[in-house]
Amino acid sequence: MKLLQSWLAEYLDLPAAGFLETDISEQIAEQLTSLGLAVEEMIGVGHTVDGVITAKVLRTESHVDAAKVHRVYVDAGDGVERHVWCGAFNMSVGDVVPLATLGTEMPDGRRIERRGILGIDSEGMLCSASELGLGADHSGIMLLDPSTPLGVPYGEALGVRPDVIFDLDLTRNRPDCWGYVGVARDLAARLGVEFRPPGTARALPASDPARAGVSVEIRDPERCGRFLAIVISGITVGPSAPWMAQRLTAAGMRPINNVVDVSNYVMLELNQPNHAYDLHHLGGSGFIIRTAAEGERLTTLDGVERSVTPADLLICDATNTPVGIAGIMGGLDSEISDSTTSIALEMAWFQAGPILASATRLGLRSEASARFERGVDPWGIDLAVNRFIDLLAETCPGLEVQSAVSDIHTAELPAAQREVSVRIDRVNGLLGTALDMDMVRSLLVPIGFACQIETAPSDDTGGVLAAKVPSWRPDCEGEVDLIEEVARHYGYHRIEKAVPLSPVHGHLSVAQTRRRHLRQVLLGLGISEAMPNPFLGPETAAAAGVTLPMMRITNPLVSDESVLRTSLRPGLLRAIAFNESHRRDGVHLYEIGHVYPAGTSELPDEAEMLCVVLAGSQAPAAVALWREVAAALGIGARLDQDNPPSGMHRTRSASLLAGKSRIGAIGEIDPAVTEAFDISERVAILELDLSAVLETAPAPAKWSAVSRAPSSDLDLAFVVAEEVPAQRIDRAIRQGAGSMVVSVSLFDVFRGGSLENGTRSLAYRVRLQAPDRTLTEADISERRAAIIAAVAKAGGVLRS
């Protein structure tokens, strides 16, 4: 909403505010913002260039040596002939033009000097409209009305005065502020000055459809709560009064003619959209307000033919021919023209929601729909009609108003006033203030909430006010809304600042703490964090070999982002490809993020996952990483290589199994997948379902005494078939070594040589130690035999 300061000032006694002597605009802006009517921008308009005055063209002369300029002689009102060089040729003798006199500083920084061409001085410069900041036209010198007095500042001659436009970013709860009067009411209350809404000496004619000369039939009483039609005749269509044209122009609205301008003016002033129809073009001299039929067509005022549906409400004439889309835009056919002499004026109230839906569906936002979709005052119509007539009468002295109107109300019309109880204790309890009843009342009354005492204050309570909510504030439904009004007008800045003492112990949950720990471990291992887009194209998911049932976005921005990921893998693979394409190989990235596979409950089976990708590394790097992560988090899992996860290297990948449940995947990306993602390196990968591992922290480690007895090492190599996983041999060794085992480490893997095909040799160093004594030869050989026996059972033969 854009507001012109001079226009706004009409509705309140600004000088009474006293302090507004200097920087008046800045201070108004500050007050509006602190009232919640945020001033986004202040735009200075109507500034004129000092030193530019009106002058009349006396004669023009060309010069033989200068084709692009000519000599213009002007009189600036002092009877002295002045000579200027000019590059524009659009003026004729007798035209009045703006003359920038010597010494003038132009807005673009130029200073007008006595600069000569061909040895002949120029005594100033003639200006185009754009040079003076009066529009975009720079095609020629600006020509003023020939009757303009000479030698006066051009701004004065044009009636241009410096002014300020406040661009308000209005919130949805303040529909009343879409009119000057609504903003002025709030501002006057804040400044403590008199609020002067426009008045009228007229009384609205009684509603008597039989005598109104215009009929009204509401066939959709739910969407249209009130429709008033009034016939005004004796109209002469012509230009508006200059003051109105200037004001509308300054406010950014193009003046059309006196009828349309008054219609717009009333809308801007009182926030009451309205529409004037040429009565002679209105079939049957009446209105029918009805739901549009599917497939009906109508050409709106903007010249666009539109197809409407039952989602739209139509204004039709009495022959049921559409003449406008209710609350949005009038039809082209009943537009006011120069020959219009009588009008049927519509002032109506429509339900906000359906107008919003209709305007959204049509993609048609008008000044009217912007107001109706937020909520217009249904009881402001009476004043608006009279205001319309008063203003139009200024340019139509012969104007006559029909002695009756058609004013139809339906059950949907909101009451003129609602009453809300405001408990003073509740006000203070919510705001942290100590306002008494008088104070609360003094804040509510100036903005239109008439208050009566419902319960007088006592020693125990602050009392209760019964406040009447004015009809222009549909947002104020209950007590808390009125408490907000009290707070706004009291001033948010006057509310004290106090920090509540939390009785809660602030901390991260177990899962949150473990998640942070996991991050630190990964970062310490040189792995950086990526945040890929959780949206994918279905093909991208398929290319990554991701197979879980997916959720799709029903209104995606682009088709490449139309499904929700069920795996973090595709995003990280893209990140590798991106970095590779920017000459960065071997990237190590992790992501901790949600995946959203479809599930059988209401919400998808959303889960938090970890995925780590190590470009340029092979599966063992992922295993080494997993061992670090598992140790850090105190978790364990079995590597099940029999069922490699989809999208991963068939012989170099495993599922991570904790008991029977799969908590992750480990290994290498399938070469077909890396190829599909344009990745040239091998990629080692670890995936972990964090929702399965973060929730529970392992019990704190129990201390065990470090043995002071010497330890002994046993080196044993076993020949093991390729199908037998080393983790089974490891487990067997530990079993055989019993409680004396300190560590088991695989230090060599050997294939080939004398070994049979399909087998390999696994060499382990087993460190044994007793807690309290030196091991004897007997101890060691006994354990050795036990280990060999256990390993034999697991499928390993001692290598001799």
Binding site: T33, G36, A38, R172, A352, G353, E373, G429, L430, L431, G432, V480, I483, A487, Y492, H493, K497, A498, V499, P500, S502, P503, V504, H505, G506, H507, L508, Q512, L522, L523, G524, I527, S528, E529, A530, M531, N533, P534, F535, P549, M550, M551, R552, I553, T554, N555, P556, L557, L564, G571, F578, N579, R584, L589, A598, S601, E602, L603, P604, E606
Partner: protein
Amino acid sequence: MINDINSAQVAAIDSLAAASTLDEVNRLAADLTSKKSPISQLKAGLGAITDAEERKQIGQAINAAVGQIATAIETKRQELGDAVRQAKVAAERLDLTEFLTEPTRGHAHVVTQAWERLEDVFIGMGYQVAEGPEVETDWHNFEALNMGEGHPARGEFDTLFVEAVDEQYRSGDPGRLLLRTHTSPVQIRTMLTNEPPIYVVAPGRVFRRDTPDATHMPVFHQIEGLVIDEGITMAHLAGTIEAFTKAFFGEGFTSRLRPSYFPFTEPSAEFDIQLPSGDWLELGGCGMVHPNVLRAGGIDPERWSGFAFGFGIDRMAVMRHGIADLREMYTNDLRFIEQF
């Protein structure tokens, strides 16, 4: 005899002085302390001296000479040992500025860094951290937050709706599942699962149907605060915002509340922070939790009151690091990630 002792000692010390290697010293030491050494021979001859007094004197002189020789050996050893070590150390010189490897530590995402800093500030103020799902129901995202069906404010959220691709996974009415447009549904979930007093912040990922540009992303992050307790007032909200502002941005910063509108709070406010330069910066929205929202969360608004606030996490990272374009944060380009 005394002269012999002196000359043996002098000879021994001279020979040590001439030695230039440890081996040489060791050899000499062996000779000088052997039974055949001149001084040992002299010692052996002691028994032949009959006069007890003379024998005692000569004995003492021999012992003194032996001691002197031993000291000389030790000194020489020390001297040569030092020289060897010094030569070795000198030969081992390294130029420590020959950096052959780059640092390999990983870098947390800037958003994560901002996220954790925010969490830490609020934990210090006695808050716990709540989380919720990113795919939400219409009820949690809108309806329970006082934005029923057809509420005009819904239109401002540019919501992305989701459904299972495969019909067998669809349940309920279509259009009921969406990607949460704000972290506020976590308020509802927290209220439904916890009794007041509630002091939580809920950082998380949120979604809007926005075309990416320098200041908008369809996927971004917010943090939400919710306090519900007895006697919570708007003064507490203002004080909390102020305390947070100082804790997070620094002592030189202050804050203000300015009336605004959100369906889920009443009164509602925008909160701005004032930079030490004096400029104001709009940071987020806040307000007293609307009674309808408390009721949706199963909390009696007559007994409990509360406030909520929320703002963007990404923006905190942008402000801290001067990032000109939000899109940069989501390229996963290591040249970006490794800057922070």
